[in-house]
Subunit: 361 residues, 2 copies
């Protein structure tokens, strides 16, 4: 059966070996084993070990499994904020993080720039005594990236605040110094090329300590997936309730495959493909950069202004077994989004560019 | 490759056609489509339509997808309780539902019986002005079932309170009159025979109206998966954030297969297999009923006291390609749990009984 290659920014193309990983899971009865069995514990541990190696996660970090990355937003507020948080907002997902704080009646403040723009001097407007500062490393809605150096600079200016970084659609591409942030989270259906339905929350010991303070101050950390509940089971390589066992297994297999390939090569290939795509946008008559500042252009979600809507482009691309993403929200017809994830090979990106190059206004 | 048949109470045996449903999902690129696409919307709608038909869900109910059934506990408190709730506790999972309310600083009360016992007169001790009354239809930890008639009787006594029913390990077996309750929830890895990682929350219009009152009274419904957020997207057959698309697709396929078989036959087979298993427990020298009262014995999770631990029994059962569940928590070595789900055919239950019958003390 002819299958498309998906360049939508998530859910997206499955990791190349995904079908065989799923076949292995089925033949090994991964979906039927108890989540308290030694077989499950081995899978849980292996996945976290592979992930730690892949992203160089320090020992003072814990890895928790949630239902989705969006759930992390709530868990971070419930467990790490008594009152005040500050948010760098430059698109729909960073705004949603902020709005979760509003919904929870926290005192949330924000530094906001228009969609398509980024931050150059992020420390400027953060209120004092902010407990948490949040960044969206890669705004999936706009294709704007926030520089890690700017995040680290904020850490220097506000050493007492916890720093949370949304790496939903970028990890494992960015080489993050986790010692300069405190928590991060991602979805598996973006760069890891898995079926959706699993969020991964990375939490350091400062967050654990903060959850103690929040519990003392507010008397509650929420109920489901609180840090103490997650941590308590995590020490024995388990989860508080039945997790997405298949997703955890598949994440381990993908992280293992990425480790074998090496994360360096994965990053080099990502850079090369991003360069190819941006070079094409530069010369393509019907496309223009969605993000004007070079510094803020994402390497993993390439966004372009277009005079031909994605729906039209996809009609031709379908004949080449390719599909791309439309712009997000109100930019649905005026922008396209092209995922540049590890599942997208250099060859298929070349094919995409060749196909787009055939299209005329 | 030789595969075991899993009688553990969840994750458990996959639905018989699961491998081919997953193969269909992969060949149709279900895991790569956007969760905002018309293809996804059709899947979402179909799954809910099949589920509605299967369990005779009235039109005034909405079907929401969560990360797990445990998440439903938190969502019910956040959206449906201003202050007071009352809980019927007869095992670890009903107790967890109660404890989520404690963690959220609600005024929770409970009627509790020892593990292995059930409720005969549930209305007795419910405080007045209770906003929510919760039952666990099938206590997966103990194999105790709560009679639907008793739940409906409670409704008559407390018509103002919302009634929530945990049907995690029983639906679609019980023929529930949803007009006599207000909300229910289940996991897909029990009776539906799916990989774990998806919770389904059924919510009627009284719960929706209650969430309005809670919002007015408390100023918050939580942030992630609040009722207005879920409802807003549900009307266009979508979810607020990227859901477990594969799980939703597979649930639709299983519900469709169950509808073709008819839920009546599924219920008759469940009763027949339960009778076979309980008859065997009656005569087996090393087993005894885990639930002494006939009325309280679950038809879907059969629990027996045992003088031979599950770990020992499973050594022999493995030679017959079968595995059963150990007792829950402190009953790990003194009880066994046998799932009697639709994925377990009459033939495989016969094989299990024959194998257990060979074992001697």
């Amino acid at each position: 059966m002819s299958k498309l290659t998906y360049f939508g920014p998530g859910p997206s193309q499955l990791y190349p070996e995904m079908d065989s990983f799923i076949a292995d899971a089925l033949s090994q009865d991964i979906c039927s084993i108890s989540h308290r069995s030694k077989e499950y514990i081995a899978i849980h541990k292996k996945t976290i070990d592979e992930l730690r190696q892949l992203i160089s996660l320090p020992d003072n970090y814990h890895v928790f499994f949630l239902g989705s990355a969006s759930e992390s937003w709530e868990r971070i507020f419930n467990n790490c904020v008594i009152e005040k948080s500050h948010h760098f907002v430059n698109g729909s997902f960073s705004k949603k993080f902020f709005s979760y704080g509003e919904a929870l009646n926290k005192s949330v403040t924000k530094t906001e720039v228009p969609a398509g723009e980024g931050f150059d001097n992020p420390k400027a407007s953060i209120p004092s005594n902010t407990e948490l500062i949040t960044f969206t490393h890669n705004e999936t809605s706009t294709g704007v990236s926030t520089s890690l150096e700017d995040i680290y600079e904020t850490r220097k200016q506000f050493p007492e605040a916890l720093i949370a970084v949304d790496v939903v659609s970028s990890l494992p591409y960015p080489k993050i110094d986790f010692n300069q942030i405190d928590t991060a989270f991602f979805s598996v259906q973006k760069c890891f090329g898995l079926p959706a339905g699993l969020g991964v929350w990375l939490v350091n010991d400062r967050c654990i300590q903060k959850s103690d303070k929040v519990k003392k101050a507010l008397g509650t950390l929420g109920s489901h997936h609180s840090i103490p509940e997650l941590l308590g089971k995590s020490t024995s390589h388990q989860t508080p309730s039945t997790p997405n066992v298949l997703g955890i297994y598949l994440l381990g297999r993908v992280a293992e495959a990425m480790n074998k390939k090496t994360v360096q090569i994965l990053r080099e290939e990502t850079d090369k493909k991003a360069e190819m795509l941006y070079d094409f946008i530069e010369k393509c008559p019907y496309l223009d950069y969605g993000v004007k500042e070079v510094k803020h252009r994402s390497q993993t979600v390439i966004v372009a202004d277009t005079t031909i809507p994605a729906s039209e482009l996809n009609k031709y691309l379908a004949t080449q077994d390719i599909t791309i993403g439309a712009g997000y929200g109100k930019n649905k017809t005026t922008q396209i989004r092209i995922a540049n994830f590890p599942a997208h090979s250099i060859e298929i990106v070349e094919r995409l560019i060749k196909a787009l190059d055939t299209i005329q206004e």
